[in-house]
């Protein structure tokens, strides 16, 4: 087994975002101290406040320490592991016997290590035999992933390492706010600018990142696609198209060109509210002689036309001939810790490990042989995340659900509807380290280890596979998810298929399963990760150095060419109207992470950012008589939510913004629209129609669950 040093500083990684900063963790008596790892290349000792303060998650009194079972009177009571596991296995077996295998569903997470993600995917298909497994990464990376696959034939969020950013003469950030969401990336953007580069930010808000940019384009929410098409129009008009690159390395330009030429600047101005002169400046910078990158965040992706918008980003770099070269390309900035690895190992309803397709017969038989089952026994494609949650307890829908490391009652669009769906389940089982809004309704809660209590790999936003190491033992009876899945598998009669017990053994099985797949890990070992400070996939054999930069010679499609796509602009599924006149959009704050189930219990973060603050333009605030710090209610067709008013001119006067880190009445997702992208099934988190209560009620409070 891989040696785990104890009681001396341990080099590991942060539990939060996809930057996965290298950290040095030192146990100090009952406490631990966390510092940035200066030897880790992508953060070089830098970190944000969340990472430094992650020690506050250690030794918490509110940690889940034993399994809990809801008794006949509805109260959660302590139970033994034996009792709890038997109960879960029996309930799932009964549901399967009465309603068929699809009656039990699994909901995974981009926070899980590769080993856990892989085991969960296998558990669903082999132990539960259900097609219905999906994960919260569907709400995060699915549009970026689908767009990357369509345009480049391969989905690795960033096809180049972070260290390439300073090579770019111009970086266009589309709907991303890394200064707050991936803070150590700021350093790379600053280095790029200090070496004479230009930074352009597209965001309806003047975010912290937009403030440091050389040019900020602030489109109406939901109109990024029109803006990107307009930029391609101007690239063509000003003759910045790289004809040679297009001829040699791409296909489909004519269709993309015809579509772009239909997006005349005056029309784009009218749709987006961005002026032609700003667009021209952006195109001049993107199209000059130097390398250029386009990087997108969730802004353009979390829309019902998210995939088309990603494809429009790809069209830009391809038309300029700035892809597959150093300092060039399109990248999608992953959000969750293991958002990249989490989607490569089968947690997604349509995928099998190694980025294989569950509908491809060859892929099925490869994975079936690794798993020791016959290909016919593998289920097919199941429901996507929102569709799965929306079907819970409905006629024909799943009646039992296993949630692993995800807080769906805060994170899903139209969250009140999802809360009701969970309530309609026969059996809800939650695996987590802390109680959260989702576990409130659970029938069984199983306590799991958290990041510093276990060892396992993640794959960061660059596609670099890295190793998180154990620092301390888990408190109480908390157990690893891997152990829990094995124990359940035994009880479901397939214990022989889940022999790997140690995470390193699970990784070895995973590596074997991915051999020959697109995301090939078969040449990666924990030893190599340790020695090489991470290994980039694909890495198909042990002598292979890993692939830092993709697409230098060929793109991922069988013919080696990248594909242009015609991406006509369409409106958001719900545009503002007389009844709901304002745009509502959501995003993240620096101090908090995702549904906040970790960060909302960390004292220093709560002190720094205690409440959900609604960004509202002074003009709109004056119109509605709203004062700074007042509690206001925002309504959409799906519900009402309460926030603290934060009056600021850094947002468009027609748009409201709220962070999505809070639950209860402060949940931004009470308002969001679950309209789905036709390809990625990504919900439209970033645009819906809303209204603000014209005069606040002095008795309003933020309510429970803050």
């Amino acid at each position: 087994m891989f040696a785990l040093p104890q009681l001396q500083p341990v080099r590991t990684h942060c539990p939060f975002c996809a930057f996965q900063c290298g950290t040095v963790v030192s146990p100090e008596g009952n406490q631990i101290r966390i510092e940035g790892d200066e030897s880790f290349p992508i953060n070089q000792g830098r970190m944000c406040i969340k990472g430094f303060r992650a020690s506050e998650l250690h030794n918490r009194p509110d940690r889940l320490l034993t399994p809990l079972i809801r008794n006949a009177s509805g109260k959660l009571c302590q139970a033994s592991w034996e009792e709890a596991l038997d109960l879960v296995a029996n309930r799932f077996r009964q549901l399967r016997a009465n309603h068929g295998p699809e009656a039990v569903a699994v909901f995974g997470s981009g926070a899980l290590t590769n080993e856990k993600a892989y085991y969960l995917a296998k558990f669903a298909r082999v132990a539960l035999k259900t097609a219905n497994i999906d994960y919260n990464g569907r709400f995060c990376m699915s549009s970026g992933a689908a767009g990357n696959n369509l345009a480049f034939g391969l989905d690795r969020g960033m096809p180049f390492p972070m260290e390439d950013l300073p090579l770019a003469g111009t970086i266009l950030l589309v709907g991303s706010n890394p200064v707050e969401t991936l803070p150590p990336m700021t350093h790379w953007l600053q280095t790029q600018r200090q070496s004479g580069g230009k930074l352009i930010v597209i965001d309806p808000r003047q975010s912290a990142t937009a403030l440091m940019a050389d040019l900020h384009l602030a489109p109406v929410p939901g109109t990024d696609l029109a803006l990107l098409n307009g930029l391609l129009h101007l690239i063509i008009e000003t003759e910045k198209v790289d004809q040679k690159f297009i001829a040699v390395r791409t296909s489909g330009f004519e269709a993309a060109k015809a579509n772009a030429l239909g997006h005349h600047p005056a029309m784009v101005e009218q749709i987006t509210g961005v002026s032609e002169s700003q667009m021209r400046l952006a195109v001049d910078w993107l199209g000059d002689a130097r390398p250029a990158m386009v990087l997108s965040g969730r802004g353009p992706e979390q829309q019902s036309k998210g995939v088309a918008t990603v494809l429009a980003c790809a069209n830009l770099v391809l038309a300029l001939g700035k892809s597959g070269k150093p300092g060039c390309g399109y990248g999608c900035l992953t959000g969750q810790a293991n958002g990249q690895g989490g989607r490569e190992h089968g947690q997604k309803a349509d995928q099998l490990p190694g980025y294989r397709s569950i509908t491809d017969p060859d892929h099925r038989s490869h994975i079936a042989s690794i798993w020791g089952v016959s290909p016919e026994d593998l289920p097919t494609k199941g429901l996507s995340a929102f569709e799965l949650l929306d079907a819970l307890g409905q006629p024909g829908g799943p009646k039992g659900l296993l949630v692993v490391g995800s807080n769906v009652v805060v994170a899903s669009p139209d969250v009140d509807r999802i809360r009701q769906r969970l309530g309609a389940l026969d059996c809800l089982v939650v695996l987590d380290a802390f109680a959260n809004e989702t576990s409130e309704g659970a029938d069984v809660i199983l306590p799991v280890t958290q990041w510093m209590e276990e060892t396992g790999t993640t794959t960061n936003l660059e596609g670099r596979v890295i190793l998180r190491r154990k620092v301390t033992d888990a408190p109480g009876q908390a157990m690893s998810d891997i152990w829990i899945l094995r124990e359940l598998a035994k009880r479901l009669g397939v214990g022989d298929k889940f022999t790997a017990q140690d995470p390193e053994d699970v990784f070895a099985e995973l590596a074997k399963a991915t051999a020959g797949g697109k995301a090939d890990y078969s040449g990666i070992t924990w030893q190599r990760i340790d020695q090489e400070k991470g290994v980039f996939w694909p890495c198909p054999h042990s002598n292979h150095p890993g692939t830092k930069r993709l697409f230098l010679d060929r793109f991922g499609h069988p013919d080696g060419r990248a594909r242009f796509h015609a991406t006509p602009y369409t409106q958001a599924a719900e545009e503002p109207d007389r009844e709901y006149p304002l745009y509502f959009t959501t995003g993240r704050n620096l101090e908090h992470y995702n549904s906040g189930s970790q960060t909302r219990r960390m004292e220093s973060l709560v002190l720094a950012n205690p409440e959900p603050v609604l960004k509202i333009h002074p003009e709109l605030a004056m119109l509605h008589g709203i004062n700074e710090g007042e509690i206001v209610e925002v309504e959409s067709r799906r519900g009402a939510a309460r926030f603290v008013a934060g009056i600021s001119p850094d947002i468009r006067p027609d748009t409201l913004f709220a962070p999505f880190h809070w639950g209860g009445m402060g949940a931004a997702n009470l308002l969001t629209n679950p309209a789905l992208d036709p390809i990625s099934r990504m919900p439209e988190f970033k645009v819906c129609a809303s209204r603000i209560k014209s005069r606040t009620n002095p008795d309003l409070c933020l309510g429970e669950g803050r």
Binding site: C48, I49, H187, M267, A566, L590, A608, M622, D650
Partner: protein
């Protein structure tokens, strides 16, 4: 289910957009579509015609890539002029006598240039004489290119959108251009008097001669019937080696009229773009909706989206509403934008005008019931897109009306938070410098600033440098 035969007369931008919208609704799975276009090439983007002037070819501005129609089994008849339609018999005939059946028919015949009443414009066959052309389609542009030569004189007749575009195009080709306009000021449909004057002045500065309030009487010919000038009503002659006619467009409705489809200035349609005759629709520049014919893209694209709903049989109650007009162009480097009305119409309409005479910049807002009813911008249209959004949404205007002309972000937070990781403001750092912090390390120790991602350390260092006098400040980052 029986497949529907849809015939579309005209193959321009409206048809192209309509087909796109139908495709998006997967309508081709249940209909067979035939398109009849008079021009020899496919549908092209008329707005980009100036590219042809610059030496491009039609291929550069085609709206659909090769094979697009074929892939969707759409039959496109090029150089096919429809000469007769029988809505009752559900048939139409092309010039060569071929008969085509349809279940539904769309008129998208567009418009043709309006010609001024002038002597000498046409030869005995009724064609424009050599040296004179319109500015409307690819063949007009090809003619313009043929007639134009560097250093010679051109006269453009018409001071609206098209006329200005033509003048710019010819000026770019190196010609000396005079523009003659019958009204007192340029772009009088979109701009008020002051705006038109400002635009004229800006154009003159750039070397294009502007003659407004003049009536053009006739073409003046020299030896060999060569065009040498344009005669004005007062007898003055403007020298010209070529003349471009751009006084406007008129809907092409003769085919519809001959087919007994109700026509006024355009083909009359209701909110569903229906002509009132069973199975017959019209849209685009040839259609007249509630007394208005359109010549700009946005309203026509909106019509396409409505008609696609109607034709694909979705009973969603799709209805075309009056479009919000927005015009934006850059003529010889001068930005011009206009939306809604350009003069107050009600007694209570507020008017805000900002005139910068020296810089030839003019901005005007018309506000009704606290909402934007119209705007005119000449010289600097930077705030036009933001105004267009306000106009479209009919949001209440800010109490200080001038705020609407400012850039949307007023950067209140600049100079606010300096260390985002630890939320330390510039003010806090300055306070610590004031009470004695002299090194970056001290500032970090006291405030936490710079202890996170480290990206603010450069800013902290420069704050230290700017706010201390000692030479010994240690600022290694």
């Amino acid at each position: 289910m029986k497949r529907i035969k849809l015939a579309i007369i005209g193959n321009g931008m409206a048809t192209s957009k309509l087909l796109e919208e139908l495709d998006r609704k997967h309508a081709f799975s249940k209909m067979d579509v035939s398109v009849f276009g008079e021009e020899p090439h496919g549908a092209y983007n008329r707005i980009l015609l100036d590219r042809i002037l610059k030496g491009g070819n039609v291929g550069d501005i085609l709206l659909k890539p090769e094979g697009w129609h074929q892939d969707r089994s759409i039959m496109v008849h090029k150089k096919a002029k429809v000469t007769m339609v029988s809505p009752a018999a559900k048939r139409l005939w092309t010039e060569d006598g071929t008969e085509h059946l349809f279940d539904k028919l769309v008129f998208a015949t567009g418009s043709k240039p309006r010609l001024p009443q002038m002597e000498g414009l046409k030869d005995p066959q009724g064609n424009l004489v050599p040296g004179v052309c319109a500015f409307r389609d690819v063949s007009d542009c090809q003619k313009m290119k043929e007639y134009a030569s560097k250093g010679r004189n051109a006269v453009v007749i018409g001071g609206g959108l098209l006329g200005l575009e033509a003048a710019k195009g010819l000026s770019d080709l190196g010609m000396s251009v005079n523009l003659a306009h019958i009204f007192e000021t340029l772009m009088n449909r979109q701009l008020d008097r002051m705006g038109g004057l400002m635009l004229g002045r800006a154009m003159e500065r750039l070397g294009i001669g502007i003659r407004t309030g003049v009536l053009t009487k006739g073409i003046v010919f020299g030896p060999k019937n060569k065009v040498i000038g344009v005669r004005l009503a007062d007898g003055e002659i403007l020298e010209a080696d070529m003349v471009v006619l751009a006084i406007g467009i008129q809907p092409r409705v003769s085919l519809a009229r001959e087919s007994d489809i109700p026509v006024n200035a355009g083909i009359l349609v209701n909110d569903q773009l229906w002509t009132g005759i069973e199975g017959v629709f019209a849209l685009g520049e040839c259609a007249e909706h509630r007394g208005i014919t359109h010549g700009t893209i946005q309203p026509i694209y909106e019509q396409c989206s409505v008609l696609a709903e109607v034709l694909s049989g979705n009973p969603t109650g799709a209805a075309y509403q009056e479009s919000k007009t927005y015009t934006k162009l850059k003529v010889a480097g001068v930005e011009v934008a206009s939306m809604g009305i350009n003069e107050p119409a009600d007694r209570d309409d507020e008017v805000v005008q900002v005139v910068e005479e020296k810089r030839c910049i003019y901005r005007k807002l018309i506000i009704r019931n606290g909402r934007l009813a119209g705007a005119v911008l000449v010289g600097d249209a930077g705030c036009a897109p933001a105004l267009a959004r306000r106009f479209e949404r009919q949001d209440l205007m800010p109490a200080n009306r001038l705020d609407a002309l400012a850039t949307p972000f007023r950067s209140a937070e600049r100079g606010g938070v300096i260390c985002h990781c630890n939320r330390v403001t510039e003010e806090v750092v300055l306070n610590h410098i004031r009470v004695g912090c002299r090194t970056l390390q001290e500032i970090t120790a006291k405030t936490g600033a710079g202890s996170g991602c480290g990206s603010c350390r450069g800013q902290l260092a420069s704050l230290l440098l700017r706010n201390t006098t000692e030479k010994s400040v240690a600022v290694s980052v």
